[in-house]
Symmetry: C2
Subunit: 488 residues, 2 copies
């Protein structure tokens, strides 16, 4: 990694985001349009996120399974609004063989190997899963059925940005089947709450959660509920969604069950997912002009030790550093000693700062003499002198404080970034300026929503609460307050 | 799961394999040709396999990362023998959008959305990874580079069979880059040994391992080393491979490094992988006519308790069963109490037997009175009466014995299924009869190898040892003994 600088947020927020990702070695563009390479350090963060989320999904009672990458075109088209939502952005497999070109110098698609029916690379798995579910579900005893899949997904996006929007991404998709709408609705909220708790407890992100408008809902759902986070530039990031699919898919895929009363019925379904987009939310929310900042819980390296020595005291400093490592390791496993001899301590400070390692310990000859360690926490960049005694307990406490502090900061950003507004002029001027979330009444008319989007770039992010007010756009009476923001 | 029977091995081995998979709820066919659905129980086994292997791969020093699913056709073609090996079996993405048909009743590929360059769905990731590696590697300090990827892979196979050969499968692919051939060769063997140790210790499978012949090696490699297991029908299953890629890919993808001597050099590479095919090896090796048999280490449920009661003693039996669960849980986590009231104990015995749960505990009123438990181990189907005292320790011991016994059985099958043969008539008659592994001398001439394959269906599986003998086919002097078998 070249030790290059990072564009300040104030100068160019988009470039700052790309610089943070690049300098922290999280991901890079590949030769395939819109597809990124997730580098080892970025993938290690993803593994920590995935493992913790997987545990929580299993606690919800879902079991992991794996379904085909490809979806026959005919399946994909069965649910009318579903295909309409995804048809314009899907990768299509049409052939299954290459052959040598006539000049023998290359390969080309073999026209004889054309598929009878084209295959769609999954942009989501409702259709391929529910065809299978129709064979798994016959009786009320088979319900609820709760299946989760970790998989790669392809959506042919026009404009891409690492983690936030990529042609291929990694995700988790939960799919459940229930006997009643009451039970499936409960599941929709359980998934939503799981995501919000996960964001809070693991990613240190405070969010809004609520129903999406008709125009923003998932293609094929009755209702979609979204989790929304606020970025430092005042734009909103949709973090995850949970869908009430009603009986829409069950009916077209022929899923039915014999209920306790002997009647054959259509079950009620839900689906819910989060993706590598979460990584974008984490990076954008916590990082600063020095680079990545990570919540300790998901940091692949929680503590880095940088020895500072001259030739004459090198052995002593290294030995002491290893002793400190051994002390801390019992309580904090992900700790690293930076032993690279060809780099200066200053270069190393800089590099680990950019990589968002929560705690840095500097160990020099003078520190050892004084029985003190220089410790720097990455969230505040505060420098402390800590006694060697109980260093392990002190580090655990600091990591804990960082996790808490990041969540507090996130809560504050959300709170301070949210305004209740009833004047449309004010509404527009906020979105021209510092942006953020605006809570405002909306009459529910899609035309008002469309005009607001056209004029301010802001869209309804999610339902806020019942109340009494006037539609921010048309001024008609409204009973619903909504959260608006300019989305990523 | 319908409580259907299983075709005996003696009657139809292929059907037996399919029946075991179906009755154990491991996987099923999907609507997409050659692609299977891995069901929750099958996937839970895969997760256990994956987690343990992932730990070992990280111990080798490799780090996980993620690369694009799609490979540009031009990349794919860069290494001549590589593209030749995979061109005939790859799924090709040619378009990125669907549109409504003229009659408005369906969707069709939008001819306007044709890709300038077709994308190949990865059949393996050497080409897409090594393009990236060319940017990661500049100095000897960047080496060795060891990257591992868990991913889905697509190869358009003509004949498919669940787990053993499917159009899409899940796998792990390790890719390393080294400064010298000596070091990369060491890596090839380390990976090979890791797979063989893993097979032995975790999957309870004894294997052969060694170099493959020219005709059997990986497309683009200098040498391929394979791990070979023997199935109950006498056919061989290639379990995993490790490739010495030499400098072939480094040269075409422009990977180079400045060495300690200041010279710019081409590095040496390896790649190695195992897939969901391992699941097929496990199923085929250990199972019997009653259904699946699983090594306890990878069994998602290690112990099942089946309560046997009448109305009058139900509460007592259930309470006692829960007490036993609590006792065992401290030492064996994956334990389940089958509380389903609508099924008879006999039905349950049968079902869990088919699912290969290593230990079944039956708890009835009389057992409780006598302070004894009826315990059945799945590998031998032996029924025991165990005292309630120390039941936990006894169960741990039995699980351990099962794991050992399965490995011993596998070793015995391999040993007894291997013959050293020097007469070609005998060679052919073995492969017409009970099959197995044959160790025989081969002169190294591809024509002899091809004729042997044509006449007996047996191929060279891997190199056995140096020695002195006559080629089993042409009778010429040979210094190399090879392992032959009919492969899956």
């Amino acid at each position: 990694m070249a030790n290059k600088g990072i564009t300040p947020r104030s100068e160019d927020y988009s470039q700052w985001y790309l610089d943070v990702i690049d300098r922290a070695d999280l991901a890079e563009n590949s030769a395939v349009r819109g597809c990124m390479v997730i580098k080892p350090y970025g993938y290690a963060i993803w593994e920590n996120i995935r493992n913790e989320l997987d545990r929580r999904i299993k606690e919800l009672g879902a079991k992991n399974a794996y379904f085909p990458l490809f979806i026959p075109k005919s399946f994909f088209s069965k649910e009318a609004s579903h295909v309409k939502g995804f048809a314009k952005e899907c990768a299509i497999v049409t052939h299954y063989r290459l052959k040598e070109t006539a000049d023998g110098k290359g390969v080309e698609v073999d026209p004889k190997a054309k598929l009878e029916e084209e295959l769609i690379v999954r942009p989501t798995s409702e259709t391929i899963m529910y065809d299978t579910f129709s064979r798994w579900v016959t009786s009320w005893r088979d319900l609820p059925l709760k299946i989760n899949q970790w998989a790669n997904i392809v959506r042919w996006e026009k404009r891409t940005r690492p983690f936030l929007r990529t042609t291929e991404f990694l995700w988790q998709e939960g799919h459940t089947v229930h006997t009643t709408h009451e039970e499936s609705t409960k599941q929709v909220f359980e998934a939503l709450d799981m995501y919000r708790d996960f964001a809070r407890e693991i990613l240190a992100l405070e969010t809004y959660g609520g129903k999406k408008s008709e125009s923003e809902k998932f293609a094929g759902a009755i209702d979609t509920y979204g989790v929304e986070a606020l970025m430092q530039d005042g734009k909103a990031l949709q973090f995850g969604t949970s869908h009430d699919l009603g009986q829409n898919f069950a009916k077209v895929f022929g899923i039915s069950f014999t209920d306790t009363d002997g009647q054959v019925k259509s079950p009620w379904q839900t689906s819910w997912g989060v993706s590598t987009r979460m990584m974008g939310a984490v990076i954008m929310s916590h990082s600063d002009d020095l680079g990545l900042v990570l919540p300790p819980v998901i940091a692949p390296i929680k503590v880095v030790i940088i020895p500072i020595y001259k030739d004459e005291n090198k052995d002593m400093v290294m030995e002491f550093s290893r002793k400190i490592i051994d002390q801390i390791k019992g309580q904090v496993k992900d700790i690293e000693l930076d032993e690279r001899e060809y780099l200066s301590p200053g270069f190393k400070f800089n590099e680990w700062e950019k990589k968002g390692v929560p705690v840095r310990i500097e160990i020099g000859g003078r520190d050892i003499e004084r029985n003190l360690l220089t410790v720097v926490r990455r969230d505040t960049n505060e420098k402390m002198s800590l006694t060697v005694n109980n260093i392990s307990e002190q580090i655990v406490e600091i990591l804990d404080e960082i996790q808490k502090n990041l969540l507090e900061r996130s809560s504050k950003i959300l709170q301070e970034g949210t305004q209740e507004i009833s004047s449309y002029d004010e509404f527009k001027s906020v979105f021209k300026g510092k942006k953020g979330f605006i809570k405002a009444y909306w009459c529910g008319n899609p035309e008002c929503e469309e005009s607001i989007k056209y004029e301010s770039k802001a869209t309804t992010r999610c339902f806020s609460k019942e109340g009494n007010g006037k539609c921010i756009y048309c001024g008609k009476d409204s009973t619903q307050e909504w959260v608006f923001a300019i989305p990523y």
